[in-house]
Amino acid sequence: MLEQIPIFLQALLDQTGAIHFSFGNLIMIIIGSIMIYLAIAKHYEPLLLVGIGFSCIVANVPGPPDDVPGGQAISALLYAVKDGGLFHYAYMGVEKLIIPPLIFLGVGAMTDFGPMIANPRLVILGAGAHLGIFVALILAKVLGFTLSEAGAIGLIGGADGPMAIFVAVKLAPHLLGPISVAAYSYMALMPMIQPPVMRLLTTKAERQIPMAQSRKVSKLEKIAFPVVIAIIVNLFFPPVAPLITMLMLGNLLKEVGVTDRLSKTAAGGLMNVIIIILTVAIGSTMAADKFLTFQTLEIVVLGLIAFLFGTGSGVVTAKIMNLFLKVKINPLIGSAGIASVPIAARVSHIVAYQENPNNLLIYHAMGPNLAGVFGTAISGGILLALLGAN
């Protein structure tokens, strides 16, 4: 009898995932913990990084050995819900492109497009700041990715999480995990990434250029805007119609003034629910065996390159515009053409404020920042049209 006790204990141990815990799992748990630390201690995009970090940790807790395909254990999380359940369908929501349009609905309901309407000439910066997408695309191709994969990777430089996910699902669904993690992580780190590039490409005098107050935008204009833009963008870029439609619908609900409960729901409760589901879905893809690969490292580095070049190209575009403008624009708002709303605009404002406390650029920077959303949508739409979906 006593000699059977070790056998029983061994059988119990075999039923746990502990024996399959690997060094890679440990690294990913540390990465997940760092994300949570950055969210809590540094306030870097806490709404996203807490959920992604926690899901990353849980996704790297291995499951029991009964479900070991080819010798590798899947996570306990996926083991528990492999035939359905919340986490399975959360990922389905991303894969079937249900969640990204709903995020855009909430974004539209929270966004005031007044700065973009008030300064039409600044929308050019929303295109100029997207050079980073194509630099990353070309470099990805040089590194050996397929053209579709390179297109999905390049769009990280658009700094638009839902759009990056949308294009990745269509062009390179197997890279959804690293692409979405890179996109959201770099968006959170923008206050660290952008300022050095902005200061490098501008002189002190340029950084101190003041900008006059913009004109007031009427309610009629704000109501007409989503209708007009939805028609134009959907007409030319049907592949991104679901995202743009929901973005503009959310904005219309906000601006008409007679659907307050709908706009509050879209911007509030619904958005919060979708963010929770999205972060869980993204984090659950960060299992060590799939995430800790050289390919992931390449994607992360390419994403950083895309952001750096995008920041620089936005600033340079503003400087080129100043060659032709009588009333100069502060080139720092050029970097806000990266679509990360409102982080990039806030970074432009803070850098300018540090140079001149009387220069409050946030409203001006929001113009190109919002235009960048459409710039990313347009770039993504063209990529989908040219590269197709296999």
Partner: protein, 131 residues
Amino acid sequence: MTAIVPDTLQGALIVSVIDFFLSFVIISGIGVVLALFPLLNRVAQFRSRMQPAGAGTHAKRVAAERKLAPLDRGGDEPTDEDIAAIAAAVLVVLDGAPHRILHIEPSPRSGWAAAGRVAHHASHTPSLPKP
């Protein structure tokens, strides 16, 4: 839908150039459309000027009527005694709580008369006997 660009470095360059150029073109087009938006305000102003003098929303009409004909009750503006009585009534209703009366004016409807009628009619309402 299949890809129409070759999966080569040259294809990547072609896609990038076309995409970047078209982005500028489309975004510029959006900028041109936005530059026309102030015309919407002019159209709205033009329409409001073209409306007949007597027309307008109900609220505008009421405000205009109030401006043209302030409440005419044959000199029935509140007297000092009326104001004192109203202030005393407010004090009783608020049970002595600190307050400040900002404005008193005659009402276009006789709420007191209506309240009095309701109280009078209700006093004759038949009620079921209590068990």
